[in-house]
Amino acid sequence: MATQTARLRLCDLQLAQGSRTVLEHINGEFRDGAITALIGANGTGKSTLIQGIMGMLKPIAGRVECSVPKERRAWLPQQLALDLTFPMSVEELVMTGSWPSHGALKGYCAAHYRKGREIMSRLGISHLAHRPLGELSGGQRQRALIGRTLMQEAELLLLDEPFANVDSETVEVLMTVLRDMARDGATIIVVLHDMEQLSRLASEAIVLAGGHARWAPVESFLQQPIADSPAPFLTHAISGVGSC
């Protein structure tokens, strides 16, 4: 159920990569149950912002306020740290999602396996349950990874270009699942380049340019030609960013 509360806030956030300041004075909040698209040209700091939100990059000033427990946060980066040669099946990968809340010592019980099978069925990968990860296509792999976040009951989900190199059927399945997760109250942030996908999935957007960020309803800029050159739009849009 979508609410108007926000469990993720950025307060005068300033992030740097090495000695180079990438983003400064970022203020805003992510509503629970909203899917927020993160857009901007290459090098504008999308990955830096995600790293900052996930606590992988320490802010040089300001702070990230996040009340979502760590075990309910999930991040699917574009360049996966996941080792695809790992001798593990799709079902086993999905089941690892229950580990953070389940603990390291207890084994999986029948209810966990039942939930895992339901999730795989929802994502249309039941027939791949016992297939090794290395034999999956890009789309199948992305479905399995989203399956893990569902198993994790993620309440904060960050996705970096989740539809890149993915077949159109998978895009539809993943969009449906992401909308369902948002409807259940999850905060979802997704880096997107495709404006058509953005308009269908996201309810809000953050545009990054020139080291600044601007929150805006998706409709407010979809008509504007920001995809190729977001900077002129932002010069106008960034004015009036409120403090936290």
Partner: protein
């Protein structure tokens, strides 16, 4: 004929030193390959080899301080190994140098320091014994120490197995959970160092990683499932240990190298014949694919 075989297999174990050697090798064969599988999956195979060499100065210093006491020498090796791992992590963290490069530099340093210390300590500590091991000289105290250490490693492995697997598969996933990531890696490296130290008496500092890595990498050519890889790797290590000891006894070969060489033969055979990535297996698959393609084309 059968009698000859039974004699060939059983006669060496009439001797207590051979029974102790067999027990030590079997205990090690049921522990080290499990860590080897996880190390190879994490891409840390070479790191473990470097680690086994890094134990040398600790072993030498323990000898210089307390004489020929295997428990203390193993403790010294453990301390040296853990210090090297810790230093490599710190150097990598603060200088940006990759951890394997830091480890390689430190292990060379440790190796040179170790050999120097052993030489300085006089002829009482046989360099060959330290470098190549002497499984046939395992006494009851050492055997108990090996068995106790391996049992402890196995119990901890069983308890932390899921965390270790998740950390191998997707370190980012575990890092995001915050609480466990650093500890899991430290625990993993601690278990690897402990097992290497235990292997040192049997196979020596130069080949301590032999029973850990060779069966583990060989097993990967035969299965893509973790639950099959682990018993396969242990099975190959057990086989190498038993046959290696028998060959060593009957042909008067040094036991450590015989065991590691047999594990190496197992690896080469697997790399040639294994269905998953083996040279011959890949050739057969390509032939089948070509044939299928030609048939479809003809139709």
């Amino acid at each position: 004929m059968l009698d000859t075989w039974i004699w060939w297999i059983s006669s060496p174990f009439d001797y207590a030193f051979m029974r102790r050697a067999l027990a030590a090798c079997l205990v090690l064969s049921l522990t080290a390959p499990i860590l080897g599988v996880l190390l190879s999956l994490r891409g840390l195979s070479l790191m473990s080899e470097a680690l086994s060499h890094a134990m040398l100065p600790g072993i030498a210093m323990a000898f210089m301080l307390a004489g020929f006491s295997l428990p203390l020498m193993m403790l010294g090796g453990l301390a040296a190994g853990l210090i090297t791992v810790g230093l490599a992590s710190i150097i990598s963290l603060y200088s940006g140098l990759r951890e394997d490069a830091a480890m390689a530099s430190l292990f060379l340093l440790a190796m040179a320091a170790g050999v120097l210390l052993i030489t300085l300590s006089g002829s009482a500590l046989d360099l060959g014994h330290v470098l190549f091991g002497s499984v046939l000289a395992v006494d009851t105290t050492t055997l108990l120490l090996v068995a106790a250490s391996c049992s402890l490693v196995l119990v901890i492995l069983a308890m932390a197995f899921r965390a270790l697997v998740v950390e191998c598969l997707d370190p980012l996933f575990l890092t995001l959970q915050g609480r466990h990531a650093g500890w899991t890696k430290a625990l993993f490296m601690g278990l690897a160092v402990t097992t290497l130290v235990v292997s040192f008496q049997t196979l020596g500092a130069l080949m301590a990683a032999g029973l850990m890595l060779l069966p583990a990498t060989a097993a990967r050519y035969w299965s893509r499932r973790l639950e099959t890889l682990l018993p396969l790797a242990c099975g190959l290590a057990v086989l190498s240990s038993i046959v290696g000891l028998l060959l060593s006894y009957h042909l008067d070969l040094p036991a450590g190298p015989a065991i590691v060489l047999l594990a190496g033969v197992g690896y080469l055979t697997s790399a040639l014949l294994g269905p998953y990535g083996g040279l011959l297996g890949r050739h057969v698959t390509r032939r089948q694919r070509d044939d299928t393609g030609r048939e479809q084309h003809a139709i």
